[in-house]
Symmetry: C2
Subunit: 335 residues, 2 copies
């Protein structure tokens, strides 16, 4: 049963488990350093579909289906689906899961959505509201680029602080069997420090990541060194540096145990992605390959996953608004 | 504690309560039959803000602040906010709640979002994940019209089956005191019967409403006559007729206890809204005035609130996709 611990943290006393997981990615992601951990790499960005939006829906469906197949579950054994993506009105999720026949609640937390969906799935299972819950999120470079920035054909130059939206999806199933436990979740607040540069999302999200981590450490009376890893996603180069600076200012020096999902997905020396990867699919695919894989295999036994989101829209930015950030945290453990 | 009851229903054994609520609306809604129940009517569609989007954010903030003020709570006493709206990337919610400092999870269920947010708030409180949770949603005629249809200046003709997006917001606070209990929630599945007419959302949503109601009745071994009211929102004229036809076909005749939020908000004889009202703010403002008011005052003691959503986007419709519907149900009772 969930119990409040301190002001922001929710302790999950039944310690729900990761029942299964899968990640599927596009060509560029398949050429990156995490290739071996993905369940499928699709060399065709359209996945045989007519449009990029339909291709992104297909990524969600593939991630969900493969996660179920790997553990021999049918969709009808899933009680609730928490889904999300970056597209207007969450169409990648809705159309991707349309045929699943599973009760569905679409989430929007920008690039933090994998953590948001997994928080809810874990709380539902811990509380008894669901026996099995799924968290599925996606992003696609081509759908995001034309929705948030420019038509692909325009070939716009990217600034050095810009991030590259991952073509990827991840699905994590939560239930009561599996090696990896979810001990705590910490839901984030909106933090807006007045950043307005849409090409520097990392800077907009870093203060939110620092805020959520500080809240969690205070609530649990722990320090960064208590965890084998602290994974943020997707702060990129600039955001990661700022995140460490902000936490240090609060008296918590973050060391070698930190990594950023946005800096893991691509090889920045050879793949020309500037400040790193972003998109709901980035932290989703890194979680559902590298992170859960290393937990399952006993490489890590205790760590934090904290996806971050920049909650703007082209309309809010055009109207002169700054970029609100948010970050949600999940504490994993293995016995 | 939440317990699964049948395949789709979640029984909330602590029976969490509506701690407080508020609704705020625009001029047209204030001229409708429910005027007396609203906490504020804003004659200026911009609420003194520079843009309609900022005005919609302001509606959310007003609903949240007024709901708290009415019961003497501070924002810091709210553990989690479930928010939602129709705008791309949920900006009405994000910017409306930016200064609240409360952990936030944005939801997207199109016009079903008030039921979706309230389901989650109720589950969080019942499970112990939150002591107090808030559900807040909004819509605004001008932001929706220009995002989903045409520029306002174009003055496009509306088809007879079209609905009118309400300028309104509602907030319900869930806690452990208050007269009105939440007994059960039932999370809906996506139902897509192939409707492609963006001007006939009611028809696209009616099958989802029927599906969720049938699931709930089966799980709880009850019939429509067991409830003093069955409120749908927002099916409009066509959708309501279709909803009754579909439930009758399943052997459940729905009688005089049914009403549709979309048909209550305006006076259709004098207000030229064609098939009725729609938008997240419609069912939110009807719930947080008429429905909760009548429950609190003892007029009703037992009823169902079932908001419905059409989960399309202009992009999905332009790409030839049909309109997926969804409906979530909340069972209220008063001792």
């Amino acid at each position: 049963m969930p119990e409040r611990k301190g002001k922001y943290t929710i302790s999950l006393s039944s310690r729900p488990r990761i029942l299964g997981y899968a990640s599927v990615v596009g060509k560029k992601e398949g050429e990156g350093p995490l290739e071996a951990g993905f369940d499928a790499v699709f060399p065709d960005g359209r996945l045989g579909e007519k449009t990029w939006e339909k291709a992104e829906s297909r990524l969600q469906k593939e991630a969900f289906t493969r996660a179920l197949d790997k553990v021999g579950y049918a969709p009808s054994q899933v009680d609730v689906l928490f889904t999300g993506d970056l597209l207007n009105q969450n169409i990648a999720s809705t159309f991707g899961m349309r045929e699943s026949n599973v009760p569905l609640l679409n989430q929007f937390g920008a690039c933090s959505t994998m953590a948001q969906t997994l928080c809810l799935a874990a709380i539902f299972v811990d509380s008894g509201a669901a026996d099995v819950a799924a968290a599925v999120t996606s992003s696609h470079f081509c759908t995001a680029e034309r929705q948030f920035r420019f038509p692909l054909e325009y070939g716009g130059q990217r600034t050095p602080t810009a991030q590259w939206t991952a073509t990827a999806a991840g699905c994590a199933l939560v239930g009561m069997s599996g090696r990896v436990h979810i001990e705590h979740v910490c839901i984030g607040r909106i933090v807006d420090m007045g950043i307005t540069d849409m090409n520097n999302m990392g800077a907009a999200m870093a203060p939110a990541a620092a805020d959520t981590l500080m809240n969690f450490l205070k609530d649990t009376h722990t320090s960064p060194d208590d965890y084998e890893f602290i994974a943020t996603g997707d702060l990129g180069v600039e955001g990661s540096a700022l995140f460490k600076m902000l936490t240090a200012r609060e008296g918590h020096k973050i060391g070698e145990n930190h990594f950023d999902c946005g800096l893991l997905l691509y090889d920045r020396n050879t793949q020309d992605v500037h400040s790193g990867a972003s998109g709901c699919g980035c932290s989703a695919s890194v979680l559902c390959s590298h992170i859960l894989g290393n937990l399952e295999n006993g490489v890590w036994k205790n760590g934090l996953f904290m996806a971050t989101g920049a909650m703007m829209s082209p309309t809010s930015s055009q109207q002169g608004e700054s970029i609100p950030g948010i970050a949600h945290l999940i504490h994993f453990s293995v016995e």
